[in-house]
C-alpha cells in the first residue's frame, strides 16, 4: 500500500469538499474492493475519504411498496434484517450469498453498486427490481445506472446515499458462484410485479443488464417452459479463465430457469 491522506468527514457536504480538493481522492465505504486493490499497489489514491461517519448514509426503511436501504448498510445487515426478510426476501437472500462472512460484515450496498464489479451480486437486484439510486445530487433509474465495466452514471465525486427497491409480488435470485472467488460467474434475478416481469443479469457481461428477451417471453407466462426457445446470444459476454462466453450464456438460461422454478414451484 502506498501512503495516502485519510479523512473521515461527518457530512456529505464535507465529503464532497474533501473529494474536490484532493488531487486523486477516493471514497471508502466497506473497503472490500478498494483496500485489497490498494494493498496490492494497484490503486494509489492521494486521499481516502471514509464515509462511515455520515449518518445520512445509514438506515433501512420498509414500507408496503418499497424497501429503502441506506448506502452504508453492510451486506450482513441486509441479509438479517427482519423487515427486508419479510417484505423483500430476495434481497436478504442475495445479500447472504455475497463473498464470505468477513466480506458481508464489512462490505456495503452503496460500495458494491458504486463499484459496479461485473461479477457482483447487488447489481442483479438493482436491475431486476428496477431500483432507484439516490445520490447526494439526484435520483438515477436502475436502467440508466450501469454503463460498462466498472462504469456507472455517477459523476466524479457523486455519492450514493440510498437505494430504493420497489417490492414485487414475488422474486427469486439464482447465482452460479466462481468456485475460487465466490463472485457470480452468472447471477439472475427474476421479479414479477403483478405480471410485469423484470430480469436482472450479473456476471455475464461487462456490467449488469436486463434480460429483455427473457422478460418478453415470460410476460404473462411465468414458467420455465416459456424461455426454452429464447436465444441468449453470448456476444459481448465475459470470456475468461473461469468461464467462456458460451458457457456463461448457457448458465444465464439455467439460472433463469431455476429462479423461475423458485417462484412458481
Amino acid at each position: 500500500m502506498y501512503q495516502f491522506r485519510y479523512h473521515k468527514p461527518a457530512t456529505l457536504e464535507e465529503a464532497v469538499d474533501c473529494y474536490q480538493s484532493a488531487e486523486d481522492g477516493i471514497y471508502l465505504a466497506g473497503g472490500q474492493t478498494l483496500l485489497p486493490t490498494m494493498k496490492q499497489r494497484l490503486a494509489a489514491p492521494s486521499d481516502v475519504i471514509d464515509l462511515s461517519a455520515i449518518d445520512r448514509l445509514t438506515g433501512i426503511e420498509v414500507t408496503s411498496d418499497e424497501v429503502r436501504v441506506g448506502a452504508f448498510t453492510r451486506h450482513d445487515e441486509v441479509a438479517r434484517h427482519e423487515g427486508i426478510r419479510r417484505r423483500l426476501p430476495v434481497l436478504a437472500f442475495l445479500a447472504a450469498q455475497i463473498g464470505d462472512g468477513q466480506v458481508r460484515n464489512r462490505g456495503t450496498i452503496g460500495g458494491s453498486v458504486a463499484n459496479s464489479d461485473p461479477a457482483a451480486d447487488y447489481p442483479a437486484a438493482v436491475i431486476g427490481l428496477g431500483a432507484t439510486i439516490n445520490t447526494n445530487a439526484r435520483q438515477i433509474a436502475a436502467d440508466d445506472y450501469f454503463q460498462d465495466l466498472f462504469e456507472t452514471a455517477l459523476e466524479p465525486g457523486e455519492i450514493i446515499t440510498r437505494i430504493d427497491f420497489p417490492v414485487p409480488s414475488r422474486a427469486a435470485y439464482r447465482k452460479f458462484p466462481n468456485p475460487a472467488s465466490r463472485y457470480a460467474v452468472v447471477g439472475v434475478l427474476v421479479a414479477d410485479f403483478d405480471g410485469r416481469i423484470r430480469v436482472g443479469i450479473t456476471g455475464a457481461g461487462p456490467c449488469a443488464f436486463r434480460g429483455t428477451a427473457l422478460e418478453v417471453a415470460l410476460q404473462g407466462n411465468l414458467n420455465s417452459a416459456a424461455i426454452e426457445g429464447v436465444e441468449v446470444p453470448d456476444v459481448g459476454f465475459n470470456n475468461d479463465l473461469h468461464a467462456s462466453a458460451e458457457y456463461r450464456a448457457h448458465l444465464v438460461k439455467v439460472m433463469a430457469r431455476r429462479a423461475i422454478a423458485d417462484l412458481v414451484g
Binding site: 500500500m1 468456485p179 475460487a180 472467488s181 468461464a243 448457457h250
Partner: protein, 782 residues
C-alpha cells in the same frame, strides 16, 4: 501410570502443540525481530524470458530509508555459487542430466516471470517496496517457452541445453515391454495430463538473516522443512559461509507440502545482504510472490499403454512422460518425475513388464519440484486411470480386474520390474474394507435415485501404493542423490527424569511434538508432558535431513528409538549397580528398572538422578544419561490402500459434487490415529483440489494467470464431503516402529478415485484435471 497408557502407542492423544498454535502463541519466522533490523524487497522479472540489459538504482538509492540496492551482478562478484540440484539423474545413454546454471539472483538473463534479480534493503517494508518500483531496469524481451509438450521443438532457453531437454531417462525393460504389448490380447491406451499445482502453504516463505561481525557467525531464520540441508547447501555449494559459522533456524513453520524443502534465492540473498550491510535483514513473501516464485508441483503430459491377456491379467505397461521442470532445476526437481515416479508404476499389481521413459524439459515457468506426494500421485494417476479404463473396455468389474492382478500377501517380499522391493502389504484387505465403508453393493440404487433427481452419479476406485521413508542412503546415492537420507535422534534425560528429545526431522503441521513424545513416553514409562521435542535448529540439533516423503516417523522416529535403547541399556547398568546385581538380571518395563523375580525396583527418575549425582555408581561408567543414534533405513516403506470416491453431476450446469470419499490406508503401526486421520484428511482435500479445482495457468507469454486465491481455487470445507477414513495394518518389516508414513497418501490416492468416479458418471474415458464445471458441461453436450 494410567496417564502413560492413555498416551501410549496407538492412543489418539490431542496434539500438544495445538494450544500454542490456536491461541496465537506460535512463533514463525516473521515473528522474530532484531535490533537494527531492516527489510528486503525483491526485484522480480516482469517477463518470462528476457535479457537483463541494465539496472539503474539511482532514484531508489536517493530515497530516504534506502540502504542498498543489490543485484545478481553484485552477488556473482562476491563469489557466490549457483543453487545446486541435489539429485543427478543419469540419462538413457549413461550421461548425466544437463544442468542449467541457476544463480540465486539472475544477472544476465531472466527465465520466468517473478524470478528475482536483485533486492532493495530499506528501513521499512513500505519503503523497500516503493523503492523497488523506482529501480529502472531495462530488459530485452525474448520469446518464452511455456508449453512443456512443445518445449523440445522450441528455441533453446539455456545455452548448452539442446532442445530444452534436461534428461531423457528410462527405467525397465523396453524390448520385453514392447514385445509383451505386441502379443497382448488387448491394449488400453490413454493420454493424460497431470495438472500443474501451486502449493499455497498457509504461512508464506520468509527469512531473517543476522550476521555477527565479532564472531563471524551467520544466523538464518527461515521457513524450511530441513534446516540442516539448507545449511549444507548454503555452505558447500552457494558458499554463503562455512558450515560451522552458519546456523539455520526453522522455528514454527505454517505448512510446507514440499515447497519449503528447497533452498531458494530469497533466503540466500537475505543472509548475504545481512553480512554485507552488517544489519539484520528480513523478508516475508506476499501471497502474490508465493504464487510466482514458490516451486510448483506436478505438470506432466503422459501417454500410457496397458496390455492385458485373455484373462484380464496385466502383461505390460509402457509409459512415456514429458515432465515440466520449470526454468531451473529446483533442489530435488530432477528426482520427482524419475525415481519418485517411474519406480511406482507397478502399483499394487503383478505387471511383469514395465517400461517408462521421461523427458524432463526446461520451460520459462517457475521451477517445479516436490509437492505433497511428489511423483507418486502422478504414478498412481497413470496406473489407476488406465486400469479403470481397461476394465471398462473389457466390460469387466473394475474391482474384479484389480483383484485379479494384485500382489498377494504370500508374494512378499515382491520385486517389481521397476527397481523397488515391496516388503509387506495386504492390498485386498484395504480394498475390502473400503468397499464395505462406501457400501459399494448399494451404489446402483444410489445411482438410480440420483437419476430420478436428474443427476448423474458415478463411483471410482484408486488402489495406490507409494514409497516413503526416504531413503536407504546407499541406494539413493547410487541413483544420483547428493546426500544420504538417514536421520539422527538424541535423547537427553535431564537429572530430574524429564526428557528432551532432539530430531533432525522438522514439524510444520505434522504433530511431531506429540507423536514423538508418545514414542518416548511409552518406551521410558514417563509422562508425555515430561517429554519435550526439539527440532528445526542446527544450533541445537546435531544433524538431520528434515521432513518430506512421509519419512519423519519411520526414519526419524527409528533414530530416536535407537537412542532410547542406548539410554535404557545404560540405565540398566546403573540400576544393576544400585540393586547390587548383574545387568542381565535387570528388566526395564513401564518406567521401572526391576530385579527379575523380585519386588526390588528403581524408577526411571531415580536412575536418571543417579546418573547425574553419581554417588552410588559403577566405577567404569561415565556419568550422565544422554544418547544419540543415527538410523539409515534398509528399504523404503510402502504405504498402500484403497480410496473410493462417489460423485454426482448436475447435468445442466456441469457442477460436480464430491458426495463420498472413503480412504482405507495401511500405514503399518499407528502411533497416534488422531494425527494420522488428520494427515489423511488434509491429503484428501488436496487430492480433491487437484482433481476438481486447482490449476496453475500460464498464458502464451509465460505470465501466470492464476496468481491469487481469487483465481487459483484451493478447496474449502464446503467443497468436501465428510471423509470416511479407516486403516488396515501390516507392520513395516524393517524399522523398529513398524511404521510406514502417512503424510502424503491422501493426495496420492484420491485424484484417480475422483476422476474415475467422474468419468464413470459421464460415460467418458477421460476429462482433464481439474474437472471444472465448464469442461464437464462440454463433455456432456458434446
Amino acid at each position: 501410570m494410567a496417564e502413560a497408557i492413555e498416551s501410549g502407542i496407538g492412543a489418539p492423544v490431542r496434539r500438544k502443540e495445538d494450544m500454542r498454535f490456536i491461541t496465537g502463541e506460535g512463533r514463525y519466522t516473521d515473528d522474530f525481530s532484531q535490533r537494527g533490523q531492516v527489510y528486503a524487497a525483491f526485484l522480480r522479472s516482469p517477463y518470462a524470458r528476457a535479457r537483463l540489459d541494465s539496472v539503474d538504482a539511482s532514484e531508489a538509492l536517493a530515497m530516504e530509508g534506502v540502504l542498498a540496492v543489490l543485484t545478481g551482478q553484485d552477488m556473482a562478484a562476491d563469489g557466490f555459487g549457483d543453487l545446486p540440484c541435489g539429485w543427478t539423474v543419469k540419462q538413457k545413454d549413461g550421461s548425466d542430466m544437463v544442468t542449467a546454471a541457476h544463480p540465486p539472483l539472475a544477472h544476465s538473463i531472466v527465465n520466468y516471470a517473478g524470478e528475482p534479480y536483485g533486492l532493495v534493503v530499506a528501513s521499512s517494508v513500505a519503503v523497500a517496496r516503493r523503492a523497488a518500483e523506482r529501480v529502472i531496469t531495462e530488459f530485452t524481451e525474448l520469446d518464452a517457452v511455456v508449453n512443456p509438450a512443445l518445449a523440445m521443438d522450441s528455441e533453446d532457453i539455456h545455452a548448452g541445453v539442446v532442445g530444452n531437454l534436461c534428461y531423457d531417462w528410462e527405467l525397465g525393460d523396453a524390448s520385453a515391454t514392447d514385445a509383451a504389448l505386441a502379443a497382448a490380447a488387448h491394449v488400453t491406451r490413454l493420454d493424460l495430463t497431470n495438472n500443474r499445482l501451486i502449493p499455497n502453504a498457509m504461512e508464506p516463505r520468509a527469512a531473517l538473516g543476522i550476521y555477527d561481525p565479532g564472531t563471524g557467525e551467520h544466523t538464518l531464520y527461515t521457513t524450511s522443512q530441513n534446516p540442516h540441508l539448507e545449511r549444507l547447501v548454503l555452505s558447500a555449494f552457494v558458499k554463503v559461509a562455512p558450515e560451522h559459522k552458519l546456523r539455520v533456524i526453522a522455528p514454527d513453520v505454517g505448512g510446507g507440502f514440499g515447497s519449503k524443502i528447497f533452498v531458494y534465492p530469497e533466503e540466500t540473498a537475505v543472509i548475504w545482504a545481512a553480512r554485507k550491510l552488517r544489519r539484520p535483514v528480513k523478508w516475508t513473501a506476499e501471497r502474490g510472490e508465493s504464487f510466482l516464485a514458490d516451486a510448483h508441483g506436478r505438470d506432466h503430459v503422459t501417454h500410457a499403454q496397458l496390455g492385458l491377456d485373455e484373462q484380464g491379467r496385466f502383461v505390460a505397461l509402457k509409459v512415456q512422460t514429458t515432465a515440466n521442470l520449470g526454468a531451473y532445476l529446483s533442489l530435488f526437481g530432477s528426482s520427482v518425475p524419475t525415481y519418485l515416479y517411474g519406480t511406482l508404476l507397478a502399483g499394487q499389481y503383478k505387471t511383469p513388464n514395465i517400461h517408462v521413459e521421461v523427458h524432463g524439459v526446461y520451460t520459462n515457468t517457475a521451477p517445479v519440484d516436490a509437492y505433497r506426494g511428489a511423483g507418486r500421485p502422478e504414478a498412481t494417476y497413470v496406473v489407476e486411470r488406465i486400469v479403470e479404463i481397461a476394465a471398462r473396455e473389457l466390460g469387466m468389474d473394475p474391482v474384479e480386474l484389480r483383484r485379479r492382478n494384485m500382489i498377494q500377501p504370500a508374494d512378499f517380499p515382491y520385486q517389481t520390474p521397476v527397481a523397488l522391493v515391496y516388503d509387506t502389504g495386504d492390498y485386498e484387505a484395504s480394498l475390502d474394507k473400503a468397499l464395505q465403508l462406501i457400501d459399494y453393493a448399494g451404489f446402483p440404487a444410489r445411482r438410480a435415485a440420483a437419476a430420478v433427481a436428474g443427476k448423474r452419479r458415478g463411483i471410482g476406485l484408486s488402489c495406490y501404493i507409494e514409497a516413503c521413508g526416504l531413503a536407504p542412503s546407499k541406494l539413493a546415492i547410487s541413483l544420483g542423490a547428493g546426500v544420504g537420507l538417514y536421520e539422527s535422534g538424541e535423547v537427553r534425560v535431564n537429572p530430574t527424569g524429564s526428557v528432551t528429545v532432539f530430531t533432525g526431522t522438522h514439524s510444520h503441521g505434522q504433530g511431531h511434538e506429540t507423536t514423538f513424545a508418545q514414542v518416548v513416553a511409552a518406551r521410558l514409562g514417563v509422562d508425555i508432558d515430561d517429554v519435550e521435542l526439539v527440532h528445526g535448529d542446527t544450533g541445537r540439533v546435531e544433524f538431520g535431513l528434515g521432513t518430506y516423503g512421509s519419512r519423519s516417523l519411520s526414519v526419524g522416529g527409528s533414530a530416536i528409538v535407537g537412542a532410547l535403547e542406548k539410554v535404557i541399556a545404560k540405565g540398566r547398568r546403573i540400576a544393576a549397580h544400585m540393586l547390587e546385581t548383574d545387568v542381565e538380571n535387570i528388566d526395564f518395563e513401564e518406567g521401572q528398572f526391576r530385579l527379575r523375580d523380585s519386588n526390588r525396583a528403581l524408577s526411571f527418575g531415580e536412575v536418571a538422578f543417579a546418573a547425574y549425582v553419581p554417588a552410588d555408581y559403577p566405577e567404569d561408567l561415565e556419568p550422565g544419561l544422554s544418547e544419540k543414534a543415527f538410523y539409515d533405513p534398509e528399504n523404503f516403506t510402502y504405504p498402500a490402500g484403497t480410496h473410493i470416491a462417489e460423485v454426482e453431476v448436475d447435468v445442466e450446469t456441469g457442477v460436480v459434487a464430491l458426495v463420498n470419499l472413503v480412504a482405507v490406508d495401511d500405514f503399518g503401526i499407528l502411533i497416534n490415529p488422531l494425527i494420522v486421520h488428520g494427515q489423511v484428511h488434509g491429503g484428501l482435500a488436496q487430492g480433491a483440489g487437484q482433481a476438481l479445482l486447482e490449476q496453475a495457468v500460464y498464458d502464451e507469454y509465460g505470465q501466470l494467470q492464476t496468481g491469487s486465491l481469487m483465481d487459483y481455487c484451493i478447496p474449502r470445507a464446503d467443497d468436501l464431503p465428510d471423509f470416511l477414513v479407516d486403516t488396515t495394518v501390516t507392520p513395516c518389516t524393517h524399522n523398529p516402529l513398524g511404521a510406514k508414513g502417512c503424510g502424503e497418501a491422501g493426495a496420492i490416492g484420491s485424484p484417480a478415485a475422483i476422476m474415475n468416479a467422474l468419468t464413470d458418471a459421464l460415460g467418458v474415458n477421460d476429462i482433464s484435471m481439474p474437472a471444472t464445471s465448464e469442461k464437464i458441461w462440454r463433455a456432456l453436450s458434446g
